[in-house]
């Protein structure tokens, strides 16, 4: 156990798997697979495994995605870390190939690969293209992909191990705002399921559902609400596809109040799916969404910070819903 960042936790998971499997590869573009943490050795996949297995490419994220997909089809485990600027450059490759090849070949195609897609959304001062958080919806709608979005270093490590060992293509959404989180994470390999939401606090007044980069503010709001006496059941989705309907439905059956929180644009945000699933299964509940408006995030900090959902917004919406 040692204090580790999101990046260190993930690279520790990858390093272990790459040591076990001499065929496994890692493709990156800007972000070198390097991380350090006090008291632990620096991890540098490029120097440890060499440039035949770990490659820095040109600016061609569609190729990066196609490369790991092709590597997987040829029987090698493969992971790519795609920077947020390119996280839709590779969209068609995942939507029409990675997600469909297994079905279209009746099971012949094997794709033991992981697409790490970085997303931002947390940084004032960068306009639409450089502060988008919208890809959760795009990728979660694709069938044949498992789309997960861990929200802390521990989950990130456990879910990365599971993702690498999963024989299916996994989209690992990497909310960049979480890079500053540091916590104690076990040194040994462990797995965290790719299809289970995590109930972060239990309560009977309201269910609050968030995910990924939105979770720090959700947890902050939860604390404030609890201090104000509200019994909040807070759920971290962790996996967008498959979505853990059971955990969601069970919770709202109890609380009859559901508030979803998204950094993604309102229309068709993951919270819409959460509400729809619950509404199909629970009667007489009340619903509300907090989300980014249907507008590209402007650069100006004044505009952006007003628009981005935060703990105050969540507290306000929860109070209205319960009150």
């Amino acid at each position: 156990m040692a204090r580790k960042s999101f990046m260190y936790s993930v690279l520790e998971a990858v390093q272990y798997e790459m040591r076990q499997d001499k065929n496994m590869i890692w493709i990156f573009e800007l972000t070198p697979p390097v991380a350090s943490t006090p008291g632990k050795p620096v991890i540098n996949l490029e120097t440890e495994f060499g440039r035949k297995r770990v490659v820095n490419t040109g600016i061609d994220e569609n190729w990066m995605a196609g490369c790991v997909l092709g590597a997987g089809l040829a029987g090698s485990k493969a992971v790519t870390y795609i920077p947020y600027q390119g996280n839709c450059m590779c969209f068609q490759m995942l939507q029409n190939h990675a997600g469909k090849l297994r079905s279209m070949t009746g099971g012949d195609a094997g794709m033991p690969v992981v697409f790490i897609l970085e997303m931002t959304g947390q940084t004032p001062g960068f306009a639409g293209q450089h502060s988008d958080y919208e890809i959760d919806t795009y990728y979660a709608h694709i069938p044949g992909l498992k789309t997960v979005i861990p929200s802390n270093p521990t989950d990130a490590k456990g879910m990365m191990v599971s993702a690498i060992r999963d024989p299916n293509p996994v989209v690992f959404l990497w909310a960049d705002a979480l890079r500053t989180l540091i916590e104690d994470v076990p040194d040994e390999q462990f797995t965290t399921p790719l299809d289970k939401a995590a109930v972060r606090t239990t309560g009977s007044d309201i269910t609050v559902v968030g995910s990924g980069g939105g979770m720090p503010e959700v947890l902050k709001a939860t604390e404030q609400l609890q201090k104000a006496g509200m019994k909040v059941e807070t759920i971290d989705l962790r996996s967008l596809k498959p979505m853990d309907t059971e955990t969601l439905v069970k919770s709202v059956q109890k609380t009859k109040r559901l508030l979803t929180v998204d950094q993604s644009y309102y229309t068709l945000c993951p919270g819409a799916e959460v509400i729809a699933r619950v509404a199909e299964n629970v009667e007489g509940a009340r619903y509300k969404r907090v989300a980014f408006p249907d507008a590209p995030p402007p650069a100006s900090p004044e505009m952006f910070l007003w628009m981005r959902p935060n703990a105050d917004h969540i507290v306000g919406a929860a109070k209205k819903l319960v009150g």
């Binding site: 065929n23 590869i25 490369c67 590597a71 070949t105 012949d108």
Partner: protein, 405 residues
């Protein structure tokens, strides 16, 4: 589009002997157009291609001829079904006319040992020839083309998605562009794990204009991948001549930009294709990087054929009467048919005394019989179970039905 006139019209030399397959072809289209009019220029080739084909064993040479005939008769048998059986459901992007390309390439590859040992082939929306040449079971293929539960891919894929990794046939792909990119990924994995495999990607002239073309060759070059791009230039992408999307006459010249080897071959001559492929394979296996092979070839049929087609009408075989932007002149179709890959290989082997006429005829008869039986077998196969549509989304389990509410 002043570049268009750099493209000479492709005509071909008369060839006086015909196989049964070609003779019946010509008969088949006779009603649809005027008398055969042939030019005098051969389809050409350049590059420094060796002549290993002549050194192959008789068995290997006969295998090539047999493969060409098997592909041809797979197509012919299916055509006949489409024209005569109203309940038949399969469709096809016919490969007839292009058989020498896949046959010559696969003859230079290792086709056994699965994904960790075989050479890997990525195919296109026009996969039948690539698959048969790579060694895919034709009965299962025929069943897949008719969406049967016991088809090669259990009825999930149909023609455009046949795949069989056990022989290194990585699959057809219905999209134009991404396939070659994915194929370089397999080549990357091979280089990383140090195995001796090579990866072949087939693509049409239509793939040149895709952004993926640059991506593929640039990354294959930079990483010196064991990768061969076999570009089958059959002059058309759907209903447009390739000059609408390609500024140069020979697409292989694009290789020069990357500093890799590019070669143009006569795609109707299986031995020339084999020679070019063998050189490229040896280079790739030796770690010397990728090759772009452009095979000049021609598809005899329309872009696509489906049951209910009638000769001479849209969707049928031979011509593209409704094509808008550009279309294939009948003269051109007939000129290419006169340089039939079946005839060229047959005549060569007879002149090399590897085969005599009787043996060649017997091989053709056997191919025909095999394919008729394959499609007959396919016809008797069970249909897919509806609920199985929820399988094979992931390796494990099924997804929930959602269509009932």
């Amino acid at each position: 589009m002043g570049e268009r006139d750099k493209h000479p019209s492709r005509t071909a030399e008369t060839d006086r002997t015909s196989s049964t397959s070609r003779r019946t072809f010509l008969k088949g289209i006779a009603g649809a157009g005027a008398a055969i009019s042939l030019g005098s220029k051969v389809a050409w080739a350049n590059g420094e291609i060796g002549f290993w084909a002549k050194d192959l064993t008789a068995e290997q040479l006969i295998h090539m001829y047999t493969t060409i005939q098997r592909i041809r008769w797979y197509e012919r048998t299916m055509v006949d079904k489409m024209l005569t059986e109203p309940n038949y459901r399969g469709y096809n992007h016919f490969y007839a006319g292009q058989e020498a390309v896949a046959t010559g390439v696969s003859a230079a590859l290792k086709n056994t040992g699965g994904i960790m040992e075989a050479d890997l082939v990525y195919s296109t929306h026009r996969p039948s020839g690539h698959a048969i040449a790579k060694g895919v079971d034709v009965r299962k293929m025929a069943a897949e083309y008719d969406f049967r539960a016991t088809g090669l891919n259990k009825g999930y894929g149909g023609e455009m998605h046949i795949a069989d990794k056990s022989v290194g046939f990585m699959g057809a792909d219905g999209m134009i562009g991404p396939g070659p990119v994915i194929a370089t990924g397999s080549a990357f994995a091979i280089r990383a794990r140090g195995s001796k495999q090579v990866v072949v990607n087939y693509g049409g002239d239509g793939t040149y204009a895709t952004p993926h073309f640059h991506s593929t060759l640039n990354n294959a070059t930079l990483l010196k991948l064991p990768f061969i791009y076999v570009l089958e230039n059959n002059l058309y992408h759907q209903y447009a001549h390739y000059s609408y999307s390609t500024p140069m006459k020979d697409i292989a010249t694009a290789a020069k930009t990357y500093g890799i080897s590019g070669v143009v071959v006569d795609g109707q001559d299986v031995f020339q294709v084999y020679n070019a492929a063998k050189e490229a394979v040896e280079r790739a296996r030796a770690g010397e990087g990728p090759t772009l092979i452009e095979a000049k070839t021609y598809r005899y049929y329309n872009h696509w054929g489906a049951p209910g087609a009638k000769p001479g009408e849209l969707g049928a075989f031979g011509y593209d009467p409704l094509a808008i932007t550009s279309f294939r002149p009948e003269r051109e179709v007939r000129a290419w048919m006169a340089r039939d890959p079946v005839d060229i290989s047959r005549n060569a082997l007879i002149s090399w005394k590897v085969l005599d006429r009787a043996k060649a005829d017997a091989i053709e008869a056997a191919a025909k019989k095999e394919m008729i039986e394959a499609f007959a077998w396919a016809d008797k196969q069970p249909m897919a179970k509806p609920e199985d549509g929820l399988k094979n989304v992931f390796v494990e389990g099924t997804v929930p039905p959602r269509q009932f509410g």
